[in-house]
């Protein structure tokens, strides 16, 4: 099918140029061709992304009992979610605590990935001069992205476990007497694993912004007497801002919706926004799961809108 689509890829053939085909004037209009080319992808997004999102919103207003969906208008998904939120004031209710926890994890991971991502990208963009080395080192950072996330999570177990390398090393050197329990299945290991997994999403856009910076601007700043720090703050960071924002959007939305890393590395003990949805689905409480998904979507959307105020994403790609 795609062959037919692509066959028409470049219209506006000069009259008489393709003699064999000119005999059969089956010229399609350019806009129809565009539709043929872009249509299949649009259909996939429609069927597996846009319509599902609509269903999430609709189902969030349905009723449910122990084992099935009841297609009747109800706010139960939401009232169950916010149960006790007013009664328990000034203490936070479960959903409130969960979101505080999620935002806390999100902020820590964001700050650390931004720091690491920025300097890794800076090194690749400005200090690695040869194109071959730049390619090779970027590839080195990309390869783990093409391997399994679960494996990269469980890879920490032999290092951080009670009898892991870190604990046994620390005990041998006499720094501690008992193994540190907070190394694994804790907030620490969740943040560590998230940073390990997703710094890549920070490096790529920041690197892309940085390589586009005209080197003569940096020389100009240097010639005008700016110190290295002043150049960094006044020239490089403002020009790398689009990459920083795009990377931040990626990392924040990933962590906001994460339930796998938080589940595996938190020993299934840490509550987070994505985990509530999973728990509700496992209990077959679909409207409640959908209501939580709508809340999560709204908060994520809010964060993205705030951040995209800073840059025009479409212009940067």
């Amino acid at each position: 099918m795609s062959e037919e689509v692509l066959q028409q890829a470049t219209p506006g053939l000069l009259p008489g140029a393709g003699t064999a085909r000119a005999a059969k004037p089956t010229r399609l209009s350019p806009s129809f061709i565009s539709w043929l080319q872009a249509g299949p992808m649009m259909l996939v997004f429609l069927a597996f992304f846009l319509i599902p999102l609509v269903f999430v919103v609709i189902v969030s207003f349905w009723d449910y009992n122990e084992y099935q969906l009841l297609p009747a208008l109800s706010g139960r998904g939401y009232t169950d979610t916010f149960e006790g939120c007013i009664a328990q004031l000034p203490d936070l209710c479960t959903i409130g605590k969960t979101y505080v926890m999620t935002l806390k994890l999100c902020f820590m991971v964001w700050a650390i990935t931004l720091f690491i991502g920025f300097w890794v990208a800076y090194f690749l963009a400005f200090h690695v001069k040869s194109k071959t080395w730049q390619m090779g080192l970027s590839l080195l950072c990309t390869i783990p992205f093409w391997t399994s996330n679960v494996i990269r999570m469980i890879a920490w177990i032999p290092l951080l476990g009670r009898n892991g390398l870190v604990n046994s090393g620390l005990i041998k050197t006499g720094l501690i007497n008992h193994p540190l329990e907070w190394l694994l299945f804790s907030e620490f290991s969740v943040v560590l694993a998230l940073v390990h997994l997703f710094t890549f999403f920070m490096v790529v856009p920041i690197f892309n912004s940085m390589v586009r910076i005209d080197k003569s601007l940096i020389e100009a700043a240097y010639d005008a007497g700016a110190s290295g720090f002043q150049t960094l703050v006044n020239v490089i960071i403002p020009l790398a801002k689009p990459g920083i924002v795009i990377g931040s959007i990626f990392v924040i939305t990933i962590v906001m919706g994460d339930f796998i890393t938080i589940g595996v590395m938190g020993g299934q003990q840490i509550a987070a926004a994505g985990k509530i949805i999973e728990t509700r689905v496992n209990a077959l409480q679909f409207p409640a799961a959908a209501a939580n998904a709508v809340i999560l979507l709204a908060i994520t959307f809010l964060i993205i809108t705030m951040m995209s105020r800073i840059v025009d994403i479409k212009k940067e790609l």
Binding site: A38, P52, V56, N149, L159
Partner: protein
Amino acid sequence: MKEGRPRSFYVLAIFFAAYVLFLYGPMIAIYVLSFQGPQGGLTFPMNGVSTFWIAKLFQGTGIVDLGAAFRRSLLLGIIVMIVTVVLSVAAGMAFRRKFKAQSILFYSAIASLIVPSIITSLGISLEFRIIDDLIKAHWNENFETSMGLLTSGLGAHLTWTLPFGLLIMFAIFNRFDPRLEEAARDLGATPWQTFRHVVLPIILPSVIGIGLFGFTLSWDELARSSQAIGAVNTLPLDLQGLTTTVTNPDIYALGTVISAVSFTVITLALGTIHVLNKRQAAKGSDAGKGPV
């Protein structure tokens, strides 16, 4: 490089090296541990060296039916790869001209990339449940489910791989010289000939890159599969299931096997890209090489 490198170079080089060590160190640890001896445990030190745990996986005596999950993941990965390449190249061509709904498609792709996976996954599962209910109510009471590896599962994976494919196509056509196509057209090439003999050979290395993304992202996908895959599990889902229960190194062995497939695909793809680039450099243009 007449002047010496600044001090910041060395500081950042050490920082970069530490980052790479941080990236690869833990992974290498489990690859080594998957060769534990039969008595070995989940942590160092190694208790002998053997392929006991890897062999155990393939005997099917382990906790999961590795063979079946392996074949399912491979099948899904290959289909996702093909669909991603074809649809991305087609849509990428479309984006070179203005067309209606261009920005709708663009924003759908971006949104699909950044809306949390669990929400997409939940939505797909709700969609298919509702379709099932409709079929049961109106057509066939004994209908089981339309959810499955190659329906809802395939769709879920495509919502993750297609945005990457489309963005790569944007990057390709940003530096593509349209004059080459004009030249082909002037020489009498049909649109298909222009695509087949001019555009495709030039973009082929990057198209293989899209295939690499398509396969590896699907092969390792987890969050979107979690609710949408139906009754059967893919290999990463099985692996995740093992993390809470397992106490011996077969989980590492499974990790090593999954990674081995990833690395094989990465090496094949990068190797092909390299060969194609070299060929292009050798045969590409004779401009500026004197009169013919």
